[in-house]
């Protein structure tokens, strides 16, 4: 009796396995989701009284506060649209979108997504986003550098109007200036010299941790030059050949790292904790205002200051995009425009909302707005906007990132 039961289950499994193969032959459903958006003014009219969702990373409390206290009330007042903020990690958002797509669900409840880089690459690969939308967003056309690199490429992936720039991020180092009597190490060579003189006082978060991965890429770009990494083929062998000097550098640095590089912290929160405890002398963050925030919160002492590499640090932008399965594309467009508006973004730059840097082109902003931004960043131990913009390296292409991470693992971590 028992055996038969197993066979039946096995047969059922095989049958199930074949089922989707049949289904796949049917023609795919036409455009998922409902509605199309033409212009902002039409969208404003048709979206009155609707509810729109904003899905994004929920771990940044100050950014959450900004959505709840600035964006949501403005949307209600100006357009009678209710904003629902759903905190969710981008990996989960993409998984949800992918699953919804696989299930053929065309009434998804994800409308606006906070996204960039590798995840945009993933979303594009699986065709999960609606677009192009950038040209329909007035704040993009009126306030941003429409032809700039970050309006056209996100981690080297062509945007084609599927994303609207939302905020700036740039890798910035932080150090206690009393522990660097000869000045901060502003190049990979100076960093190595410092590590040799102060063994165990430097470390970095292990990739695939997001910021640690950027640190490794930044070192590689500093050693071999961004252009070479940019032009390298996106294959393991090809990339290895080009970035080998960078990996060699990291291996030379390894014995002088904390724990001789045998292990690494896994999150930037741990890195900050080790830095605050004096265990290591240098930390870093993707948020240029990180040191100011931590000084403001009394976690770092007032001798802590930010610095950059002379040849630049990796900078990228994060974006807003619209889900293809969105059920309220008109309201989503209104929300994207509001979140990238001058009034909302200038609020976001304030201390209580996280010192975020707007994605605007300084030339297109009014002198008053420019002055307001300059005042915010003064005397906080952070680089000036001009210095940040001057010392920037673009992100390497998204598909090279996992390859670099696996090369680091193979040749540096496990070597």
């Amino acid at each position: 009796m028992k055996k038969k039961w197993y066979w039946r289950l096995a047969a059922l499994m095989v049958l199930l396995l074949l089922l989707p193969a049949c289904k796949a032959n049917q023609s795919p459903k036409s455009d998922a989701g409902s509605g199309k958006v033409t212009t902002l003014s039409a969208a404003i009219k048709s979206s009155k009284g609707k509810t729109v969702t904003f899905y994004g990373f929920g771990g940044d409390e100050k950014a959450n506060l900004w959505v709840d206290q600035v964006v949501t009330p403005a949307m209600k007042k100006k357009y009678d649209i209710t904003v629902k903020r759903v905190p969710m990690d981008i990996d989960d958002i993409l998984n949800k979108l992918t699953t919804e797509k696989e299930a053929g669900d065309n009434k998804g409840d994800i409308d606006v997504v906070w996204i960039n880089g590798e995840n945009f690459y993933t979303a594009k690969q699986a065709n999960l986003l609606y677009g192009p939308i950038a040209n329909k967003v007035p704040s993009f056309n009126q306030l941003m550098d429409v032809n700039g690199h970050s309006s056209k490429y996100d981690f080297g992936v062509k945007i084609n109007g599927y994303e609207v720039p939302y905020g700036n991020a740039q890798l910035v180092f932080g150090g206690d200036k009393t522990k660097f009597p000869e000045g901060f190490p502003t190049s990979s060579a100076k960093l190595l010299a410092y590590a040799k003189a102060n063994p165990g006082k430097i470390t970095y978060t292990a990739p695939p941790e997001f910021t640690g991965s950027a640190f490794v890429r930044n070192i590689i770009c500093d050693v071999v030059g961004y252009d070479k990494v940019n032009q390298a083929p996106a294959t393991k062998a090809g990339l290895y050949k080009v970035i080998k000097p960078g990996l060699d550098y990291l291996n030379t640095l390894k014995p002088y790292l904390w724990q001789q590089g045998k292990t690494y912290p896994k999150t930037t929160a741990e890195l900050d904790q080790m830095f605050a405890a004096g265990q290591i002398n240098m930390t870093y963050s993707y948020s240029p205002m990180h040191v100011a925030e931590k000084r403001h919160d009394k976690e770092f002492n007032d001798n802590t200051e930010s610095f950059l590499f002379d040849k630049g640090t990796i900078a990228n932008q994060n974006y807003l995009a619209m889900a293809k399965s969105s059920n309220a594309k008109d309201a989503a467009l209104v929300l994207i425009n509001e979140m990238t508006s001058e009034s909302a973004q200038l609020k976001k730059a304030e201390a209580k909302y996280g010192y975020s840097i707007p994605p605007f082109d300084a030339k297109k902003l009014s002198p008053k707005a420019n002055q307001q931004l300059t005042d915010i960043y003064n005397n906080q131990g952070v680089p000036s906007l001009a210095e940040l913009q001057q010392k920037q390296i673009p992100e390497v292409q998204a598909k090279k990132i996992p390859i670099i991470e696996s090369l680091w693992k193979e040749y540096v971590l496990n070597d």
């Binding site: 690969q125 695939p208 292990t263 080790m274």
Partner: protein
């Protein structure tokens, strides 16, 4: 099975088939290379070959086995010992056992973060010893987090699992106390016979069950090694997660293959332990009782 029992088991079986079978089925499907979202439509064993043939993946599997076995065996031995102590103490302090139920109620992720705050070099104990003057530098504190041996991870499992084993076995030990041992001794059983014919048959089925639960849980645990593990030593679940969250969707079948192998190992260990348990004294008891 009677009609009545089907009625009561039905909802659970349905729920289980919907959740577990659907997930398992999807895992098998994707791991065999059928992933139409990115245009993969041909079944292949290539992903299993990659996973089983690659040295890095083999190391992950080996490391997960090491962690799971060490944590499970230590938890069983120490938990059983703790149950004996609780048994002796419970006469005087009847509420004592409840105190040890607290760790069982805490989620693993909370305990992992707790360990991180307590055991790391910049953690509580280290700073305390530094303030007292035992350590000249907090770096002198031993590396217990992100270490290669996974001490921090094992500490979390032990903190959670020892009380679990103790509370689960306590009920059985209480039965032992009812006088089975004394009766056997009175009837002239040698200590060896008492152990082999009385204690072992009563205790081993529950220990075997606990072994399966603990092994499968620790072997597949994600959050604990993710927070506390060394980047150089990944467990299967962490590797699968890293693959799954990569930008490149084409590595997903590999992640699913890894997940499937993880499930297979759990299944194999479960069958093995059940088989051993059935052949030990007391193992056939369950069947006899049914008949």
């Amino acid at each position: 099975m009677t009609k009545k029992s089907l009625l009561f088991l039905g909802p659970f079986i349905l729920l289980n088939s919907a959740v577990i079978l659907a997930a398992l089925f999807k895992t098998i499907q994707v791991s065999l290379g059928y992933y139409p979202v990115i245009g993969l439509r041909h079944y292949t064993l290539a992903y299993f070959k990659t996973v089983l043939g690659d040295a890095a993946f083999q190391r992950t599997i080996g490391y997960s086995l090491y962690l799971a076995l060490v944590a499970t065996i230590l938890a069983l031995v120490l938990g059983l010992g703790m149950a004996f102590i609780l048994l002796k103490a419970s006469a005087k302090h009847p509420l004592l056992a409840n105190f040890f139920k607290i760790p069982i109620a805490l989620p693993h992720i909370i305990v992992a973060l707790m360990m991180l705050q307590v055991l790391s070099q910049s953690g509580l104990i280290s700073r305390l010893l530094y303030q007292v003057g035992v350590l000249q530098q907090i770096d002198q504190f031993p590396l217990l987090i992100h270490d290669k041996g996974g001490i921090g991870i094992i500490c979390v499992f032990l903190y959670k699992e020892i009380p679990y084993v103790a509370v689960s076995t306590l009920a059985i030990l209480k039965q032992l106390q009812l006088g089975y041992v004394q009766v056997a001794a009175n009837l002239g059983a040698s200590p060896r016979q008492i152990f082999g014919r009385v204690i072992l048959p009563m205790v081993q089925p529950i220990l075997a069950t606990l072994f399966i639960i603990l092994f499968c849980f620790t072997f597949t645990s994600f959050e604990v090694p993710f927070i506390l593990g060394s980047p150089a030593q990944e467990t299967i679940a962490v590797t699968a997660y890293n693959l799954l969250t990569q930008a490149d969707l084409t590595v997903r079948p590999t992640a699913f293959a890894l997940n499937f192998i993880m499930s297979l190992i759990c299944l194999a260990v479960t069958l093995l332990v059940l088989g051993i348990s059935a052949r030990l004294p007391g193992g056939g008891r369950r069947h006899r009782e049914k008949n």
